[in-house]
């Protein structure tokens, strides 16, 4: 099968869906020339730097029959638009009694590792998990990116697509034909029997590397990638932990009330899974600080395969 990059897979999903459905439009501060050429300036809008306005415009356009795809570029910039996400997009279908659908995708890049400092190295997806009314995807491979983003564009609800900065150039197999991946279905990226690592985005790959390493020591690691943060595939995660009895959660975001906290909680509050646990679940996350600029500082903050390995060893030793 052909290999394409994560970024390219996202672009393919976008272009194919825009071809498929003439009601799709694209809103971003940048109008990519290739899109303008194919779809025209009417559908590919270069907006002023007004994330708040163009996110709201997407909501109104969606409520008037279009299917907008918004690209915030970095997730950083969505905070200017937060009123439209929190107070409008997440609630509008519900508070109007379901009378109208609002099919919108909000894309953004997340994560650090490129010395862009605190403002431009954020992974705030858990902020949207506590809100009700948004679906959230966080793909870790080109294959997942394309399949999930297509599902997101076809979904009749606001979907936030968080896309890992570190993975933009990462290549993987992607079929030529049209396919989708349903939202809310986790993927077991590697099977194992001794310990489960639930990993997100870039850390899926670090977890796979850690698993490879641990295999040499005779520890069999299962790597589960939720892929969708809301709805979360509780069943797959719990089933894995029931099998292995041990859990490490790896996330590029900080731990506090993060996706990792949710995964720990959904595992421990389930009676059968709780009963199967041989050791306390462990979060391997970024340190709870803003992200610093200098590479040595930044590397110190982020988790990686070595910290995952240390986490696995700690949990294996604990029981």
């Amino acid at each position: 099968m052909r290999e394409i990059s994560y970024a390219r897979a996202g672009m393919e999903a976008l272009v194919e869906e825009m071809r498929r459905d003439p009601t799709t439009i694209h809103l971003a501060t940048d109008a990519p020339p290739s899109l303008v050429e194919e779809f025209g300036e009417a559908r590919i809008r270069a907006t002023p730097i007004t994330e708040n306005a163009f996110s709201g415009i997407a909501i109104g356009a969606a409520g008037s029959g279009l299917r907008p795809i918004v690209n915030w570029s970095m997730v950083t910039f969505c905070f200017v638009a937060m009123d439209q996400i929190v107070n409008q997009a997440s609630k509008i279908h519900y508070m109007f009694g379901g009378q109208q659908t609002f099919p919108i995708v909000f894309r953004s890049s997340v994560g650090g590792g490129t010395s862009l400092a605190a403002q431009h190295s954020q992974s705030p997806y858990s902020m949207f998990m506590n809100l009700a009314g948004l679906k959230l995807i966080l793909p870790a491979t080109p294959y997942d990116m394309k399949g999930l983003l297509k599902s997101a564009i076809r979904d009749n609800n606001p979907v936030l697509s968080f896309e890992s900065t570190r993975l933009m150039g990462f290549k993987g197999e992607v079929p030529d034909d049209d396919y989708t991946i349903p939202l809310g279905v986790a993927d077991v990226k590697r099977t194992g029997s001794d310990i489960t690592v639930v990993a997100l985005a870039w850390l899926v790959h670090e977890a796979l590397a850690a698993a490879e390493e641990m295999a040499k020591e005779g520890v069999s690691v299962e790597v589960v990638d939720p892929r969708t943060l809301f709805p979360m595939d509780n069943e797959t995660i719990r089933a894995s932990v029931q099998k292995t009895g041990r859990l490490v959660i790896a996330d590029e975001a900080g731990p506090t009330a993060g996706a990792a906290a949710e995964i720990a909680a959904l595992v421990t509050e389930d009676a059968a899974t709780f009963a199967a646990l041989k050791a306390p679940p462990k979060r391997v996350c970024a340190l709870q600080v803003p992200i610093p600029y200098s590479p040595g500082l930044e590397n110190h903050v982020f988790p990686d395969r070595n910290r995952i390995i240390a986490g696995i060893r700690e949990v294996m030793a604990a029981g």
Binding site: I25, A42, R43, R45, T47, P48, T50, N52, A53, F54, S55, G56, I57, A58, I59, G60, A61, A62, G63, S64, G65, L66, P68, D83, Q84, N87, Q88, I92, H93, Y94, M95, F96, G97, G98, Q99, Q100, T101, F102, A132, G133, K135, N156, N157
Partner: protein, 322 residues
């Protein structure tokens, strides 16, 4: 364009309906049948009615927290409105929204909104959809003097102007945002003065003169349908009641100011106009109109009372669409 006699009578009916509907809503809020918060539009009826009279059914509007007038002027069903205020199953939002969130997308009413300034960009998206559709639809934003200072005003007007969207931005300048006077918050009191910065017309109108509002709106709608872009219309008006109906809430507005504006009642204004223009309009005719309006409001209350409360578990529905 001036309104035909029939249209003028229809405007009067709508304004009186808004007033009577809200008088009843206020009463029912105070006696506990309506919950949460109610913001009354009484005194400002000419704005919603004058503007919406210039629109077609498939044109779209968006409202703010003070939404009953906009709903009624756009043709919303009184029964379903009252049922929503009563928190009932047959309300516009199945009891999920209440006063601040009534919407009826089937008549182009994109919703009331609890966030000051929140609707400005949303309705601009409706304007974008109208432009792409190319059938001459227009989209209208109603917002307050308070909202005119929010960033979303600037962002939305600049975009609409640049993209020449078919839109009207209608500022209801009632000189107060909750308990804060616009004198405290506006560098220049005339919001319309900001239009020049976007290269679009900025029009100031007597917001208590429904015919003047109608004329300004008609011109702006023609401009929008012709592809010439948005217009900012500032309607000077006043709310008669406190910011919300919450009992005992402070209202720092000077009594003389309130009295002066009540003397400029938009409904009386149109009645006087009708009497003058068409000597035959009589108090009896107005009385008959009011009787009809009162029955419609009473029927809405009866409808609301007859509608069941939603089942508690319905709280779990409508989070996501299929």
């Amino acid at each position: 364009m001036t309104a035909s006699p029939e249209l003028q009578r229809e405007m009067l009916r709508q304004m009186q309906t808004i007033r009577r509907f809200e008088e009843r809503a206020s009463d029912d809020y105070h006696n506990g049948a309506i919950y949460g918060v109610v913001h009354c539009y009484i005194g400002e009826e000419a704005v919603a009615v004058g503007v919406c009279s210039a629109l077609n059914k498939d044109d779209q509007i968006i409202s703010n927290h003070r939404g009953h007038g906009h709903c009624i002027a756009k043709g919303a069903d009184l029964n379903r409105m009252m049922a929503e205020l009563y928190g009932r199953q047959d309300g516009y939002c199945k009891g999920k929204g209440g006063s601040m969130h009534i919407a009826d997308f089937s008549i182009g009413m994109l919703g009331a909104n609890g966030i000051v300034g929140g609707g400005l960009s949303i309705v601009t998206g409706a304007g974008l959809a109208a432009q792409l559709e190319g059938k001459g639809r227009v989209a209208v934003c109603f917002f307050g003097d308070g909202a005119s200072n929010a960033g979303s005003f600037h962002e939305s007007l600049n975009i609409a102007a640049r993209w020449k969207l078919p839109m009207l931005y209608v500022c209801e300048h009632n000189s107060w945002a909750a308990n804060t006077s616009s004198r405290m918050t506006h560098a220049r009191d005339d919001v319309a003065s900001r239009a020049a910065g976007y290269g679009i017309p900025g029009v100031v109108v007597d917001g208590n003169d429904v015919l003047a509002v109608y004329e300004a709106a008609t011109d702006a709608v023609a401009r929008a349908r012709a592809g010439e872009g948005p217009t900012l219309i500032e309607c000077k008006t006043y709310r008669w009641r406190a910011h919300t109906e919450r009992p005992g809430a402070a209202d720092p507005r000077p009594l003389e100011e309130i009295a002066a504006w009540m003397a400029k009642d938009p409904i009386q204004h149109l009645v006087d106009d009708l009497k003058q223009q068409q000597g035959q309009y009589s108090d009896a005719e107005f009385q008959a109109l009011d009787d009809a309006v009162m029955s419609a409001v009473a029927a809405a209350v009866a409808f609301a009372e007859a509608s069941p409360f939603p089942a508690p578990e319905a709280a779990l529905d409508d989070v996501f669409a299929d």
